[in-house]
Symmetry: C2
Subunit: 504 residues, 2 copies
């Protein structure tokens, strides 16, 4: 029980958000990070630590007493930096890029500083309104069909990741279908994709309670450049319908993770329309490129889809996490994801004049993510954003040219964007041996510390992926990367030759 007198009440610790202390320490951190970017090309790209290394460097419990920032930054320098894989290194060509930028960083800083929780309009109006505006801006840059924009009756929302975007749209589609066929029939719903589709779909389907037997990963072929054929989809749907199942959701991909393959949207949407399935377009990586007119054709046919997403945190210079999702009919998201407890009731929500984004996503709380996307678009403008994208594509073309000119290598699948899938050709025709050799080559390349690339297996072939897109990468890094590949390949071929010669 309290007393109205506050004599003797403990309030001794300084405020943890003192403005001048904030200023002093944040300036130190800015210089620390700026220095990191200046030096990042010198670090081994792939970390060389062993499992468990950090437990030997840090105490077993939190300290009881405060420690100065200087001591913490020393530990970051000595123990954290050596343990990270440097996604911001100009020599990073692994997975897909995580393209940072000054504007993206600043937008995130501002959002973190304001630290509002924008679950509904009233909780921070600017957070909701700016998100609606930038989603329309970005939709226009991508030349998305008008029905996906707020100005056309649809709308966009920022999710954390594509996994969340897929889960939300899948649940929206599921509940729409269950309303039609009956709540008890979740077991008959079927989800479709190709065998190249990101694992996000399988995971979303698992979470949403789709029966594991009803998740189809339809086969693709090298002759189709690993795109899903409409014929394959139609046959699968027909078989399921005959078996009494109900087609629910098709996840198409523009720019698959393994090889940046592109599904033919128009034909697939036509097939899906025959059974009333929801179609999602996952352009997580390649969506960014579609702001350039010369790449826009890859999403031709998107007008037949129900939802479209891409990750601004991959190749749109916006720091993790920032997945942009547009839907034609937001009401299906709201029907599936809304909750309206008393403690969130307010006049503005009840007026139905505003968007409450909590009903468009999994979580209730949400960060002010639109600030960073807004700052990226304003700081660079569409013109420079296109230049950045095109320069990465040019760098990938440069690398592709190196591969093509060297007869010991091949580009395995046609390059669509800024990722080259290549391999060292086998001297004999056995695919397993070639795969093992390329695996060895990739390990040797990464062990140099000078670059980091990763692999995929497409159509049974092990390929090395060279994904350009780190914000600091320049032509000289691409040339140096090719030199490392060539040198390690030559060493590998020589040792194989010696082994062979010794055997003979």
């Amino acid at each position: 029980m309290g007393s109205a007198s506050d004599v003797g009440l403990p309030n001794l610790a300084p405020s943890p958000l003192d403005p001048e202390e904030f200023r002093r320490q944040a300036h130190m951190m800015v210089d620390f990070i700026a220095d990191y970017y200046r030096n990042v090309s010198e670090y081994p790209v792939l970390s060389r630590v062993s499992p468990g290394y950090l437990r030997h460097c840090l105490p077993e419990s939190a300290p009881n007493n405060p420690e100065p920032l200087e001591a913490i930054l020393d530990d970051v320098r000595d123990h954290i930096i050596p343990g990270i894989t440097h996604w911001q290194s100009p020599n990073y060509f692994a997975y897909f890029p995580s393209s940072g930028s000054v504007a993206g960083f600043l937008g995130e800083m501002l959002g973190v500083g304001l630290n509002v929780v924008g679950f509904n309009w009233i909780s921070s109006p600017a957070a909701t309104e700016l998100e609606g505006i930038v989603m329309d801006w970005l939709g226009k840059l991508l030349n998305l069909p008008k029905p996906f924009l707020f100005s056309g009756g649809g709308g966009g929302v920022l999710q954390g990741t594509t996994c969340e975007a897929i889960l939300c749209t899948l649940v929206a589609a599921r509940d729409k279908a269950l309303t039609r066929i009956g709540r008890d029939r979740i077991g008959v719903l079927v989800v479709y994709s190709s065998d190249q589709t990101h694992c996000a779909l399988k995971k979303a389907a698992q979470i949403a309670g789709i029966h594991p037997d009803n998740i189809r990963a339809l086969p693709t072929r090298r002759s189709d450049a690993f795109g899903l054929s409409a014929k394959t989809l139609r046959a699968a749907v027909a078989a399921d319908v005959v078996a009494g199942l109900v087609p629910l959701y098709l996840c198409t991909t523009v720019g698959t993770t393994s090889s940046t393959a592109v599904d033919p949207l128009r034909e697939l949407c036509e097939v899906a329309a025959e059974s009333g399935m929801w179609v999602h377009v996952d352009a997580a990586y390649a969506g960014s490129a579609c702001i350039c007119p010369e790449f826009r054709h890859f999403i031709d046919g998107v007008e037949g889809a129900d939802s479209f997403s891409f990750n601004a945190h991959k190749w749109f210079f916006t720091t993790l996490d920032c997945c942009c999702l547009w839907v034609k009919e937001p009401k299906h998201l709201v029907n599936a994801l809304s909750t309206n407890p008393e403690y969130l009731r307010n006049v503005v929500t009840e007026s139905k004049k505003v968007v409450d984004y909590k009903d468009w996503q999994i979580a209730l709380s949400r960060r002010f993510r639109s600030l960073k996307l807004w700052m990226v678009m304003r700081s660079y403008g569409a013109s420079n954003l296109r230049k950045f994208i095109r320069s990465h594509v040019s760098m990938a073309e440069l690398f592709e040219g190196f591969v093509n000119e060297d007869k010991r290598f091949e580009v395995v699948v046609p390059r669509n964007f800024a990722t080259v899938c290549f391999r060292l050709l086998p001297s004999v025709g056995v695919v397993e041996a070639a795969n093992a050799m390329n695996k060895q080559l990739l390990e040797a390349v990464n062990a140099t510390g000078k670059v980091y690339m990763t692999h995929a297996v497409v159509g049974g072939i092990y390929v090395i992926r060279f994904a350009v897109g780190a914000s600091l990468t320049e032509m000289l890094n691409v040339r140096a990367a090719w030199a490392v590949v060539k040198e390690r390949a030559e060493a590998l071929l020589l040792s194989e030759f010696n082994v062979h010669a010794a055997a003979v």
Copy 2:
């Protein structure tokens, strides 16, 4: 098709991550945010803008050409700041706090700057290892039973929000149950909570495909201080079992959103154990207080639960988002949430010596959230963190004292932490009239712009919630808030008296 020569290739735009440009602009942003904190107490806490205001201030499309940071910051000052609700204001007492801190901000900055994507160990070892270490640190500060810690066979993971923590554990529990009873029987699974439980549970159950008829919100009573009674739970479970249903998951709460009520964990866990249900403890708000020995008793009995979560972004000085989740048997999360595509395969994962956190959460990609939590614990130390918590509780006690000393008001439910639920007492006994009067009072109080509080309805009673916890709040703000409440209440009572007098 590329060429090995790069003569004439376009690479004209400056790097979007130039270190010196980063340094220049980030220092500007630091000063902008520091100034914001210096001035934040002067802004109306609840934004006064109207729906759609921002569309009138910003252009309809993204600019084609770059704009300088100065122009963007002008727009932030003129159009964004007036449109946000100031969660960092010392006069913010709404919902629950979103307690920022210098250390939390710095940790977020560093994570954003490094911008790694730590989906598995190899993608950035330090991100995984530091998370494991800080989750053990924090678990020890909370005196969690050893089986929840990595050092005791369990483990902790950072999620974005409690909604995600509940969804992940619910899906883990669901798949564990379906493995036992058969994949086709999702329709018989039942989820339990009280009518005070956060809407996150209902939403998670919806997403996870639990039948809407099988989501129980069991009644609570004012005489139990709105905690869920074991007897009520036992009766509900028994009825469901008789009806052929299968009890799946119980979500208990320590510190409910409406009134910070506490469910009796020990008794509820005993009831749940009888049917083998998964028990989750949601201590989203109140978990932080449990680092103080005098509050730890509120989670006594947690040893009988399967999982425990609290939001460091609420009242642990860590910026949004940061939900800390511990589980006793991580394998159930992994069984439900893992996917292992070829492109993520690596030697370390296959050695099974490491945690791959992608299998503990909904999304694949994940930010380096542990840095901010690590910096908060080190910068303040356990001693100052306890002081911060205690000073907020003291301020709530001060306010509670004011309410208690004024006979026109009452504290409606016992205060457990730093949130006071109070109301202006009705002059006559009709609850509807009292509710309407308190609603009016709250609107009048918030309209002053001097403070922001929100409401809840518990047991049919409309209460005003006064939640202390904003990092800049001091005793003087609490005193000023009480003055506003008293003044508005007097004006309201006077106008009611006048209306009454005129009628007579």
